[in-house]
Amino acid sequence: MAELKSDPGPLDRPARETGGPGGPRPTYAGPGRVLVAVYGLFALAATARAGVQIATKFHEAPLAYVLSALAGVVYILATVALARSERRFAVLCCSIELVGVLAVGTASVVDHAAFPDATVWSGYGQGYGYVPLVLPILGLLWLRRSSRT
């Protein structure tokens, strides 16, 4: 019997691992939908900001802006992975993010001159209320919790 769903948007698309009752929960439902929303926001913010920085003043701090663009790409991939319940890929994206924010955060503290502008990961995400630091941790915790039956 078909389920009555008026508008199954892309986020409701049944992806793999949705499972039946008792199976793992899809990563895009419940608390996961909050993560998808915030990840989407950061995907937009980081990518757009890096785009502007690279287009207008790339020579000022090429490394910082390239890392900023990389952060944007990782956020986009993480958003898609969480929205489609692609668990392993989502774990990979969140892990890269956590390593990235820690590495770039440390680098920006050690070599301040290389990071003149706030980028999404510099200062451990200080310019964004440290959300970039908290987000991958929440993502990994959610991926672990939702995989339990």
Binding site: P31, A37, L41, A45, V52
Partner: protein, 121 residues
């Protein structure tokens, strides 16, 4: 930006909408018509702010960083509608949390919008 009054009104209404949605979140309820109306009022003021900003741009005034400013205008326009749709897709307390975050983000973006216009920060 010249009409600070509108920006302040957006900040206050979006924070009030966020506070309302936060209460709903803590009560573990999905958002209802009241929260949506509050978000709608905030969105109406957001649109007013955008129109004023565009009028300023058309009149030849320029913010410190034009591209970033326009990016923020686009972002600020879509945040509350997207948050509202996502909140309705997730009719649980988590949907209410999305709406809460949407209201907070709009308030932050208005502050940043003013900073970009004046070149401070």
């Amino acid at each position: 930006m010249t009409p600070h009054g509108v920006g302040t009104a957006v900040i206050i209404t979006s924070l009030l909408a966020a506070a309302w949605c936060l209460v709903t979140t803590l009560r573990k309820r999905p958002i209802g018509i009241g929260e949506l109306v509050a978000m709608g009022v905030a969105q109406a003021l957001v649109i007013t702010q955008i129109v004023i900003s565009v009028v300023h741009l058309v009149q030849g005034q320029r913010p410190h960083e034009l591209a970033t400013f326009i990016g923020y205008l686009v972002a600020i326009f879509v945040i509350l509608p997207v948050a509202g749709v996502l909140a309705k897709m997730e009719p649980t307390r988590w949907g209410s949390l999305i709406a809460t975050v949407g209201g907070l983000v709009v308030a932050v973006l208005i502050v940043r919008l003013n900073q970009i216009w004046t070149g401070v920060g």
